[in-house]
Amino acid sequence: MDDALLGALRDVVGDEGLIGDAVRRKPYECDGLTFHKRAPELVLLPADTEQTVRCMRLLSKAGVCVVPRGAGTGLAGGATPLEGGVVVGTSRMRRVLEIDEVDRFARVEAGLVNLDLSRACAGHGLFYAPDPSSQMACTIGGNVANNSGGPHCFKYGATTRHILGLKIVTPEGEVIDLSEPEVDPLGYDLVGLFVGSEGMFGLATEVTTRLVPLPEVTETLLAIFPSLEACCDSVTEIIAARLEPSAIEILDQMTIRAVEASVYAAGYPEEAEAVLLLEAEGSAAEVDENVADMRAVLARHGVLEERRARDERERARLWAGRKGAFGAMGRIAPDLYVADVVVPRTKLRELVLASTEIAQARGLRISNVFHAGDGNLHPNISYDRRDPEEVERVLDAGREIMKLCVAAGGSLSGEHGIGLEKREEMELVFDPPSLETMLRVRSAWDDGGRMNPGKLIPVRICMELSTRPIAAVGGARP
């Protein structure tokens, strides 16, 4: 990188906001998807919007690519600087700027860790509903960029339904201040469009989120099943019967055993083929009615046993197992490929089984832990990245699972995003004109294609249509 530019950037963020040496840049070479790696030429950690603006202006003038980054917990390669350039991270922007308990919103900096937001507003009887399993680490900005989900999004909806405003720094370093929580957008819904844009439209520095009241009563139920099929079928019936739990999660036997052998041990019975974690919220009467109806469904599907969390401690323990499940899988193999697909909720059983067959036919170890209520499957494949042949089989299984789900009316991603991982598979879901429209909309935000290049839109579409193909603007300088 050019010394003058480096110096100018250092003047903006100071030494504490600039990572230039190779060893300290290494953690930024990928996110949670470790198949693809490339270290950025520089990492910038601005402390606020103003510093971000100044950095982005300098980078824009120099024509350098920018990869926004939160905590790097993404699982689709979204924060991986595959085309090189500069990573701009939000880890020094973590303040809660405002909590308004009357109008029920919070304004926070984008680098705030998800769980810290709910902690900050618990005293007001409110919480921030989207709760990715990574919520102890991932940032609100990353959640916005990926439109992340979580177990309680079954009731409350994914991130997009909770974002009321944003402060966005454009690729050229202009500020679009949409942080005021409007009842309806003025003009086009730029905030709604930005959510889920995977860091390709600009960098969010502030986020205004909706807050919801803590429920009066919460009841958590663990249902133990003799088969994964019966467990899936009971979820399909709960959905079809229009019952209203707040979360419905499934863990299969391999996951249960890994969890129980780990620090996240939750007391799940290791002999069970599958467990269903159900939660109901609301007034006491409502919860009682809902739980009774759900138990009737579970009984029809041959549930072996039900355990009700009796207090907050027990409840937290049951959830710790679910939220720690990906981490616990480290006991099975050094690496875990977390597939993320979504299917119609009427087809859970069929697609969970077929995904398992795909992996097993390739000699791979597969486990399932997923947001069953939303039809969001996570067939997880344990592997060892040091074995290139195994890596090939994992990737092949992942692609086959995606194809299968799309063919069954499903889609490529329920919550992790497309990133690098699923970019080429976008053609399974969208025809070229639809992808071209996405590319044109992207260009409206970022004409030069410098924001997080090489993500989401298939290379073929970019090559055929972009006046400046991505390859031509990759790297530090065109």
């Binding site: 308004d100 009357v102 109008d103 990926n146 989900g149 999004c153 909806g157 994914a158 997009t160 339904r161 454009t170 679009i176 409007e182 009842v183 309806d184 003025l186 003009g187 086009y188 730029l190 709604g192 469009l193 889920g196 009241p213 429920p215 009066e216 399909t236 959905i239 079809a240 229009r242 609301g282 007034s283 006491a284 009467a285 409502e286 009615e289 979504v342 299917v343 119609p344 909720r345 009427t346 039809g375 009316g409 499903g410 889609s411 991603s413 329920g414 992790h416 995003g417 497309i418 699923k422 879901v429 025809d431 004109p433 639809s434 429209t437 996405m438 909309v441 260009s443 409206a444 935000w445």
Partner: protein
């Protein structure tokens, strides 16, 4: 007959061409009603070729919610694209063509035990595409949120007739950009919505309305705040002095719906919190009556003011005094929880422009004016002040030659 009309008739037959009246001072537009998607796209191709400007409409019921754009050559109605494409009761999703009347969509969903949100006023006269494109939300917004949250995906026709899609039919899905969020509320300035998929909600087992009379708006608003602080989740809370509502000048009406046990419990909580409350057991009929009090932009003039919920009392008070000062006798319909105030305006709108200016000066208030033949001198919609250049670029991206809703409906 205009040349445009003649060409449209030659293309699709005279039965596919009608007229859209736009109110006093505006010449009616030839309106083409293609029988299907393919024909609709052919019209757009022709319009592109001829350089015509197109105003996309549904049933035309909300054209009054924006200023009739000048310089349009034709209106293009989706009204005959009125099929339910897919209803999946087991999955709680529904896909319908844009011209499907909301009442039909709601009935279909109800057949499988689902509630359609948005629950809009006069649903038989309003199409799905029109509701989404106009950015309207429903009477049930307090419970379910704005319409744009429920849209899972769309198929649209772009200006040159190319059909593209975003999202899908799944309740959870992050595949690709959420372009449907851009189309919702774009008021025909970006595309023609052809089809949309929606997430549905359980049909309430029981619905009741708890109402309480008040002599002053302030007392009613205070009562609404008390309800908001209760651990209940009403479908809607309305405060109104509309003359159609019997009893005291002001009435607070709390619509409760859901499982029977929940409604019974919530009804007890709300009744205890509101003085002189009465319970209307047939909550479905009452809720539809309250819903349809929403001023009809195709026949009446109205103000729609939004603000933060905490400011609703101050904004209402100030707005009414501004209107009273110029001698407008008005009635209001408020949704305090979502901070939306609809004020029905009397006929004869001398001086409206300066009133609107004064209302827009109220801190935190966003003011829109609805009505089919508004006087000039002001923008009916609040003009966006932030991100305008980006919005223009987005418009260019979708409609490079400015074929849709010219002189933009969005920002004059």
């Amino acid at each position: 007959m205009t040349a445009v009309r003649a060409r449209l008739e030659a293309l699709l037959g005279s039965e596919a061409v009608d007229e859209l009246t736009l109110g006093a001072g505006h010449a009616p537009l030839p309106m083409v009603l293609p029988p299907g998607e393919a024909e609709l796209c052919t019209v757009l191709e022709l319009a592109t070729h001829e350089g015509w400007r197109v105003l996309p409409v549904g049933a035309g019921s909300r054209v009054g919610a924006c200023r009739p754009p000048a310089g349009c050559d034709l209106a293009l109605s989706t009204r005959r694209l009125d099929a339910i494409v897919a209803y999946e009761p087991g999955d709680g999703t529904l896909t319908a063509q844009a011209g499907t009347p909301m009442a039909h969509v709601a009935r279909t969903a109800a057949g499988g035990g689902h509630h359609l949100s948005p629950d809009v006023a006069r649903p038989a006269a309003t199409t799905l595409g029109g509701v989404l494109a106009s950015g309207a939300s429903g009477f049930d917004r307090l419970r379910h949120g704005p319409s744009r949250w429920h849209v899972l995906g769309t198929r649209i026709a772009e200006a040159d007739g190319t059909v593209t899609q975003s999202g899908g039919r799944l309740v959870k899905n992050v595949t690709g950009y959420d372009l449907h969020r851009l189309y919702c509320g774009s008021r025909g300035s970006l595309c023609v919505i052809l089809e949309a998929s929606l997430r549905l909600f359980p049909l309430p087992e029981r619905q009741v309305v708890v109402r309480a009379p008040f002599s002053e708006a302030d007392a009613g608003l205070a009562a609404a705040r008390v309800v908001a602080a209760l651990p209940v989740a009403p479908v809607a809370v309305v405060l109104t002095d509309r003359p159609e509502v019997e009893g005291a000048p002001w009435s607070v009406e709390v619509v409760l719906g859901g499982r029977a046990a929940r409604v019974a419990w919530e009804c007890g909580e709300v009744t205890a919190a509101l003085p002189n409350a009465t319970v209307i057991d047939d909550g479905v009929v009452r809720a539809a009556f309250l819903r349809d009090l929403e001023p009809d932009p195709s026949s009446a003039h109205a103000l729609r003011i939004t603000c933060r919920p905490s400011k609703a009392a101050a904004v209402l008070d100030r707005a009414r005094s501004v209107l009273a000062a110029v001698g407008f006798e008005v009635t209001s319909l408020l949704h305090p929880g979502v901070a939306t105030i609809a004020i029905a305006l009397p006929q004869g709108l001398e001086g409206l422009a300066s009133v609107v200016e004064e209302l827009r000066a109220i801190e935190g208030a966003r003011v829109c004016v609805q009505g089919s033949d508004l006087p000039g001198g002001f923008e009916p919609l609040e003009r966006p002040t932030v991100g305008l250049d980006l919005m223009r670029r987005l418009r260019e991206a979708l409609d490079p030659h400015g074929r849709f809703a010219p002189d933009s409906v969005l920002w004059g």
